[in-house]
Amino acid sequence: MAVWNYLESLLPQLVLIAFALVLPALDYLFKDKRVLALVALVPLVSLVVLLVGWLFLDAWTVSTSMLDLIEVNAFSGLFMLVFLFVGIVVVLGSPEFIRADRNQGEYYSLILLAIVGMTVVAESTDLIALFVGLEIAGISSFALSGFRKSEKRSAEAATKYFIIGGFSSALTLFAITLIYGIAGTTRIAGIEPMLAGNPAGIDAEPILTLASVLLMAGLGFKIAMVPFHMWAPDVYEGAPTPISGLLAAASKKMGFAALFKIFLIGMILTKTDWEVAIAALAIITMTVGNLVAVSQTSIKRMLAYSSIAQAGYILIALPVGTQYALAGGLFHILTHAFMKSGAFMVVAAMGAVAIGERLEDFKGLNKRSPILALTMTLFLLSLAGIPPLAGFASKFVLFSSAVSASLDPGPSWLIWLAVAGVLNSALSLYYYARVIKYMYMDKGLETTVKVPPILTVAILFAVVMVVGIGIFPDPFVEACRTAAEAFAGLPSGWP
C-alpha cells in the first residue's frame, strides 16, 4: 500500500478533483442547473466538516507529509478551511447569478479546481509543488473570470488577468530558478541550511536579493500589493461577481500562504534586509488602497481597493515576524475571507435581482431589501474593524502584534505599522460609512426586491461567521496560534 501512503495526504484534493471531473458531465443530465451547485457543495461541505472535526479533536498539531513536497499541518489546515469556506459561499452565491449562462458544469468544476490549486500551495514544502499549485489555481481563475466570454468586460478582465498572471508566474519561476541555482535545493526548509553551507561557492547575497525582489513582485501580483495591484480592480469589476469574491477572498490568500512560507521559512537569513522594505510596502499598500477606494463609483471596484488595503494590513505580519504576528495575519486572512466574500455576495444578489452594481444603486436599499442592507452594513463595519465584529478581533491581534514587537524585542519603529494600520482603518471607515449612508439615509427606488433564497443562505452563512467570530474569537485565535506554531523558527511573541 505504498502508493496509498503517498496519496493519503492528498486525499482532500483527490476528492475535489473527482467531483470537478464529474460535474461537466452532470451538466448534460440535469435540466435544473441548480443541482450542479448542490453537487459542488458536497465535497466542500464534507471537507469542512472533517476539518472542523479535526480542529476540535486537537489533531491540528499532527502533520503528515508526502515525498517532501506536501505537508499537511495546522497551517495548511487553516488555509484549507479558509478556501473551503469561501468556496461554499461562492458556490451558494452562483446559481442565481449565472442562471441564464451556458456551461455551468464547467463553472463549478473550475471553482473546485481553483480550490485544489490553492490548497496545494498552502500544503507545499517545495518550491516546485508551490509553483504547480499557483498555476492550477491561476489557470482555473483566468477561465472563471472570463466565464461570460460574450460579455466584453468579462473577456477583458480575463485577458488582463491572464497576461498579468502569466507575467507574475514567470517572475516567480525565475526567482525559484535563481534560488535553486545558488542553494541546490527547492525544498523551502532546506534553502537556509544549504545556503549556510554555500554549495555553489559564490557570494550568494546579491542573487538571493534579486530572487527576493522577484518573488515579492511575482507573489505581490497575486496578493495585489502596491505597486503590483493595478489589475485587481479591473478584473474584480469585470469578472462575474461571485468569482470576484473568490479572487478577493481566496485566491489572494493563496498568495499570502506562499509568501509566508517562502519568506518566513525559507529566507530568514536575509530578513534584516527586507523587513524595512516590506514594512514600507505594507504601509503604502494599505494607504493607496484606502485612498483610491474613496473615489470609486463602482461597488466592485471599491471592494477591490478595499481588499488591496486589507492585503496591506496582512503584510504587517511579515516585518514583525513573530508567531503572534503571523497568527494575527492568519486570523485576518480568515476573517477577511468571510467579510469580503459576504460583501461580494451581497453585490451578486443585487446583480441577480437587477438592482445594479454602482454605488448609487445602494441608495435606499434598506427600503428595497432590509436583509441585504443589514448584512452589507455588518460586512462593511467588520471590514472597517468596528467591534464586536470579526474584523475587529483580527485587526486587534494583527496590530497589537506590531505594538508588542516594538516594545520587546524591537525595533521600536514597528509601532508605526500599528499606527498606520489604525489610521487607515479610520480612513476606510469613510467610504464604508458612505455606503451605509446610501443604504439607510438616502432615498432611492421604492420597489421591494426578493432575494433568491440560495443567495440569502450564502450571505447569512457569511454573516453568522462574521458575527460569531467577533463574539467568540477564542477557538479561531487558538487555531491560528497552532497554525503559526508550525513556523518553529520564529520567536513566539505571545503575550
Binding site: 505594538v403 509601532i415 499606527v419 471607515l429
Partner: protein
C-alpha cells in the same frame, strides 16, 4: 439586596433585549415607543435600586464586594472568562465614580425616549438605536476590562452615527460622518495605548486592575508619558477639549433633540470618565508630567467655549459650545490632582448631564413649536409658552451656576480646588463665570422675553407638550434637589476618589 444575581449584566442586557424587540416589531411600529420606554424604565428602576443598595463605605457585606487593594473598590462585581488566549475577561462592577454616571445613563435614556414620543419617522429604528446606545454607555461606565471597555466604547458610535444621519437636520450627512470618523480616530489612539499597556505590563490580562498593578513596577516614566498622551487624546476628543472640539458643534446642531441630549449628557462624560478611571490612576507619572498641559487645555476650553457662545445666533449651537466650556471644568478639577478637585470634576459631570439635558430639550421645544432656533428670529415667546419659558429660565440659571442649583456646587468646588493648587491663577477661569452669565441672560432676553417677535408666524405657537414637560420637569426637580443636597452624591464619589489620591501618593 441582590445576592448573587448578576444585576449589572442584567441592566446592560435589558436595553439590548429591548432594542431587538423594538427592531422586530414589524408592522406594529406604533408600539415601538412603548417597548423602548418599558425596557429603559426597567433598567432605570433596577439601577435606582442598585444605587439604594450601594454601600457608601463598603465592607465585606456589600453585594458583590471586590476589594481593589490599592485600586478602586467595586461592588456588584462580576467576572467571566471570555477570550482566554489573550487574557480577556468580561468584568463589570460599580464604584462611586461609575455609579452616578451609570444612573445618569439610565435616567437620561428613559427621559429622552419619553421626550421623543411623537417621532413618526421610522420609530422602530429610532427607539431601537437609542437603546443600543444605552447598552454601549452603560457598558463603558461599568466594565473593568480594557478590551471590553473598548468594544462598548465603539458600540456607542454606530447608533449615534445613525441618529444624526437619519433623523438629523439639514447638514446631517456631513455632521454624522465627521462625528463618526473624528471620534473613531481618537478611540484608535486610545486602542494603541491600551495595547501598549497590555504588552508592557508583561501579564496576559486586559483587566484594568491587573494592568494597574503590573504597571506599578513595569511602566517607566517615558512609557507613561507617551501612553498618557495617547489616552488623554483619546478621551479628550470625546470630552471635548479645545482644539479637538470641532466635531461637537456640528454633531449637536444637526442631531435630533434626543440625540443631542444623549450626546452631551452621556457621550461627553465617557471622556471624563476615561481620564479618571484609566489615564490618571494607571499612568500617574504621565499625568504628573502633563498636569500643566491638562490645566491649560481645561482653561482654554472653559474660556473659548464661553466666548464663542456670545457670538452664536443658533440657540442650540450656543448650548453646544457651552458644553465645551462646562466640560472644561471637569478637566480643570481633575488637573488639580487634589481630592476636592477630582470629586468636583466627577460631580460636575453628573451635574452637567442633568443641566445640559434640560437645555437641549428646551432648544428642541423651541424648534418644535416656533419652527426655528435662530435667536434673532425669536423674542417674547414667554407670552405664548409661559411654562416653557419658566423651564428654560431655570435651565439657563442652573447652567450659569446659580447657587442652590446643581452646577453651582460643582463649579464652586472646582474653583476652590484650583485656588488650593494654583492660588490666584483662579482668576483666569473665573472670567468665564461672568461671560457665561452674560450669554445665557442675553440669549434668554432675546428669545423668551421682550416684545413678541414678528419675524416668524407665532399664531400656532402653543405651550410645551406633556411628553416634553415631564422629562424637563423631572430633570429640574433633580437639579434643585441635588443643588440643595449635593452631599447625597458626594458621599458616593468621595471614597472612590480617595483611592485616586492614594494612587498618586504611591505612584507620582
Amino acid at each position: 439586596m441582590f445576592g448573587s444575581i448578576p444585576i449589572i449584566s442584567i441592566i446592560i442586557l435589558l436595553p439590548l433585549i429591548g432594542a431587538i424587540a423594538t427592531f422586530c416589531l414589524g408592522r406594529y411600529e406604533k408600539y415601538a415607543k412603548w417597548v423602548a420606554l418599558s425596557f429603559s424604565l426597567a433598567a432605570l428602576v433596577l439601577s435606582v435600586l442598585v444605587a439604594v443598595d450601594f454601600m457608601v463605605e463598603p465592607d465585606g457585606s456589600a453585594t458583590g464586594y471586590h476589594e481593589g487593594n490599592g485600586f478602586f473598590d467595586f461592588q456588584y462585581y462580576e467576572e467571566y472568562s471570555w477570550i482566554q488566549s489573550l487574557g480577556i475577561r468580561y468584568i463589570v462592577g460599580l464604584d462611586g465614580i461609575g455609579l452616578p454616571l451609570f444612573l445618569l445613563t439610565t435616567l437620561l435614556t428613559t427621559l429622552s425616549i419619553l421626550f421623543s414620543w411623537d417621532t413618526k419617522h421610522r420609530p422602530k429604528a429610532y427607539f431601537g438605536l437609542m437603546l443600543i446606545l444605552e447598552v454601549g454607555v452603560l457598558g463603558v461606565f461599568s466594565t473593568l476590562d480594557y478590551f471590553v471597555f473598548y468594544i462598548f466604547w465603539e458600540v456607542v458610535l454606530i447608533p449615534m452615527y445613525f441618529l444624526i444621519g437619519v433623523w438629523g437636520g439639514p447638514r446631517k450627512d456631513y455632521a454624522a460622518i465627521k462625528f463618526f470618523i473624528y471620534t473613531h480616530i481618537a478611540s484608535l489612539a486610545m486602542l494603541i495605548a491600551i495595547m501598549a499597556m497590555y504588552f508592557q505590563s508583561g501579564i496576559n490580562s486586559f483587566g484594568m486592575e491587573d494592568i494597574w498593578r503590573a504597571g506599578l513596577s513595569e511602566f517607566g516614566r517615558t512609557f507613561q508619558i507617551v501612553a498618557f498622551a495617547a489616552t488623554f487624546f483619546g478621551f479628550g476628543v470625546k470630552l471635548p477639549m479645545v482644539p479637538f472640539h470641532t466635531w461637537l458643534p456640528d454633531a449637536h446642531v444637526e442631531a435630533p433633540t434626543a440625540g443631542s441630549v444623549l450626546l452631551a449628557g452621556l457621550l461627553l462624560k465617557m471622556g471624563g470618565y476615561g481620564i479618571i478611571r484609566v489615564s490618571m490612576p494607571t499612568l500617574p507619572e504621565g499625568a504628573d508630567a502633563m498636569q500643566l498641559v491638562m490645566a491649560v487645555i481645561a482653561v482654554a476650553s472653559i474660556l473659548y467655549g464661553a466666548m464663542v457662545c456670545l457670538a452664536q445666533r443658533d440657540l442650540k449651537k450656543m448650548v453646544a459650545y457651552s458644553s465645551i466650556s462646562h466640560m472644561g471644568f471637569v478637566l480643570l478639577g481633575f488637573a488639580t490632582f487634589t481630592q476636592l478637585g477630582i470629586v468636583a470634576g466627577v460631580f460636575q459631570m453628573f451635574a452637567h448631564g442633568l443641566v445640559t439635558a434640560v437645555l437641549f430639550m428646551m432648544c428642541g421645544v423651541v424648534q418644535h413649536h416656533a419652527g426655528t432656533r435662530m435667536i434673532p428670529s425669536l423674542g417674547g415667546l414667554s407670552k405664548k409658552m409661559p411654562n416653557a419659558a419658566t423651564m428654560m429660565t431655570i435651565g439657563f440659571l442652573a447652567s450659569l451656576g446659580l447657587p442652590g442649583l446643581v452646577s453651582f456646587a460643582a463649579e464652586f468646588m472646582v474653583f476652590a480646588s484650583v485656588y488650593q493648587t494654583w492660588g490666584l491663577w483662579l482668576l483666569v477661569p473665573m472670567i468665564a463665570v461672568a461671560v457665561t452669565a452674560g450669554y445665557y441672560l442675553w440669549a434668554l432676553q432675546r428669545s423668551m422675553f421682550g416684545p413678541l417677535t414678528e419675524n416668524i408666524d407665532t399664531s400656532h405657537v402653543h405651550d410645551i407638550n406633556w411628553f416634553e414637560g415631564v422629562p424637563v420637569g423631572t430633570l429640574i426637580a433633580l437639579i434643585a434637589i441635588f443643588g440643595v443636597f449635593p452631599l447625597v452624591v458626594f458621599k458616593y464619589i468621595d471614597p472612590a476618589v480617595r483611592i485616586v489620591q492614594v494612587l498618586f501618593a504611591g505612584g507620582g
